[in-house]
Symmetry: C2
Subunit: 337 residues, 2 copies
DNA sequence: AATCGGGTGGCAATCGTTTGCCATTCTTTG
DNA sequence: CAAAGAATGGCAAACGATTGCCACCCGATT
């Protein structure tokens, strides 16, 4: 069923049908109803491709993640999916595999079929992002670049809470386990940790950079044990969970010998062993808000002041069982091999 | 940059450019190279929408899941994503929210923008599926319908292994914890369990139907405890993990008081507490194979005999720490409240 | 030398929808 | 009552690519 079929059925011109369906005020109410009835009866489905060709609007948003495997992005995907669906948009999922190049390339290639894109964890430089944003409506998640809409998850303030929590448990030597190199949030978390630590008179070191995946947990765990710190804050839960299994293998007890705090509170953080104390991030909400921001910008008659440049989402520390009082004396010394 | 720009730049007709780019043999080698060079230089990107309009091919495949939240589908999404990307196809993600109606509707609405669809866990009736398959190239996962391509994960044989494993540990009363009502694999798993149990002279019951989500684990756990069985096989890991936390709350020890076997071996099954004995399914592979099957059918010159109607993927039992010897006498009787 | 046919390339229609512009009709308004 | 202007609907040209058909050029065959 095309618009022309409906036109024939109702005895009007195709253009009238188009207008009746897409621009309500532009056509007589009576004719419009006739057209709408016919459309319903003939089970008309507008052809997205054809529409896109002239109008440029595709009703499709791309969601770019660095790794579909990472449960953090599950949350994002879920959030965007919900919001997009309810707005009648389609959801194009793109995995950039941690490569900024793939990121730009894909976006370039798909530009004509996209109304906009959500960048969860971009690996792009600031410049590249600004350039990209000039080409295609963009909202970033956890990436703060001037002139690009963004939703920031305020994990740093959660990390600060974590440090205070650890300090109050008597820890005075905290290690930060770094995530991947080009990750912006990684820096922000470390800075927050260092500053808060300084304020409370506790020592802070950082180790690594480790890929934010479970297998890297082994190396990270070994490295932490080596530092003789009594507590650590880890870039994200995935890595922390990886550490947990390695520590168990090595006989390091959590939290008795080492307290661990993760970040994000992803799927799994509450049922791993021990359940992880972590900075809970509103991941799904971040996805939903990102979509909402993008869509409100895309809407033709949104007044400029109604477009939010940036939304900051608060986080909080969720205390579970991977953190406990510092028992320095009780901690066994373990050879590193 | 459109095809016309390239035509102008090289002094040929747009149609020639089109042919040079899409149908190599049809145009003189020399001209083709000139055109290709120009295309590269002008950074030409074919407009998918326009192409779709005439040719019908959109280079887009929809992946339908019942619940983006379920880690089982993470695996599927990941697998399809990989395979689609490497084939140059775009990946449209659709969450059907467990509703067959949404399933058909979405597919209908998007039909013109889709080359095909992967149905992971369809909730549709056999008839509906066949009808749908007539409209749009389809591959189902874990759903066996005559005339529709499918990839089946042979979890039932894994369940049989699980039953044998439990029997060898001395359990002679096994409960199957049922998944959602319209789930096809659910029936298959129960059947496998019952048959294998009978062969080994162990009793088998089924309880529930529980939604395949973590929160339902509480009800499921209570129900299992009530049966006085010493071991259970659970529809999937997600539900099993939910049960684990509830059992801990109630002081039921796993595996000492109750052995638990899950299905799928999803993300989390190896680091929950205790790590779950489970039927490991090649989830990612299922996704990849599904895409490969679909794409080979879509390819214009695939000989009919090369199109696989069905692929069955084997599973195996992964024994971890949630199963152990039956110690009936030692099992405490716990009031159900 | 006339004919044939493969190899190339252009013309123009087409896909389904949108939209600028014009024509008509109807309603106001001075 | 005439003129202005709003409301309504149609025409036709896009959008960017694909593709059937035809024309032309050349070398080969008879």
């Amino acid at each position: 069923m095309t618009i022309t079929d409906i036109a024939r059925a109702t005895g009007v011109a195709p253009s009238t049908v188009s207008r009746a369906l897409s621009r309500p005020g532009r056509v007589n109410a009576a004719t419009r109803q006739r057209i709408e009835a016919a459309a319903r009866e003939l089970n008309y489905i507008p052809n997205t491709q054809a529409r896109a060709l002239t109008s440029g609007r595709t009703q499709t948003i791309a969601v770019l993640v660095t790794d579909v495997t990472n449960p953090f992005y599950f949350g994002i995907i879920r959030g965007t999916q919900q919001e997009l669906k309810s707005a009648g948009y389609a959801n194009l999922l793109i995995d950039t595999e941690d490569s900024g190049e793939v990121e730009t390339q894909m976006l370039h290639r798909m530009r004509p079929s996209l109304d906009g894109a959500i960048l969860a964890a971009s690996r792009l430089s600031e410049r590249a992002l600004v350039n990209l944003a000039a080409e295609i409506p963009l909202v970033t998640i956890n990436r703060n670049v001037r002139g690009v809409q963004s939703v920031m998850i305020d994990t740093p303030s959660g990390v600060a809470q974590a440090v205070e929590h650890l300090a109050s448990l008597g820890h005075n030597d905290i290690v930060y386990v770094s995530g991947p190199e080009k990750s912006w949030p990684n820096e922000a978390r470390w800075t927050a940790l260092r500053n808060t630590a300084a304020r409370h008179g506790v020592q802070a070191h950082r180790i690594g950079r480790f890929p934010a995946a479970r297998p890297s947990g082994s190396a990270a765990a070994d490295a932490v044990v080596n530092t003789r710190a009594t507590a650590c804050v880890v870039f994200n839960d995935l890595l922390a969970i990886g550490m947990l299994t390695r520590l168990r293998e090595r006989g390091v007890r959590v939290p008795e010998d080492l307290s661990i705090v993760g970040c994000d509170d992803v799927f799994g953080a509450d049922f791993c062993h021990p359940p992880l104390t972590t900075v809970t991030a509103p991941i799904g909400k971040a996805g939903r808000v990102a979509v909402a921001m993008l869509l409100s910008r895309l809407a033709p008659r949104t007044p400029a002041h109604a477009i939010r440049r940036q939304v900051i989402l608060p986080t909080h520390l969720t205390i579970r069982e991977s953190t406990g009082p510092c028992r320095l004396a009780a901690r066994p010394i373990i050879s590193n091999g």
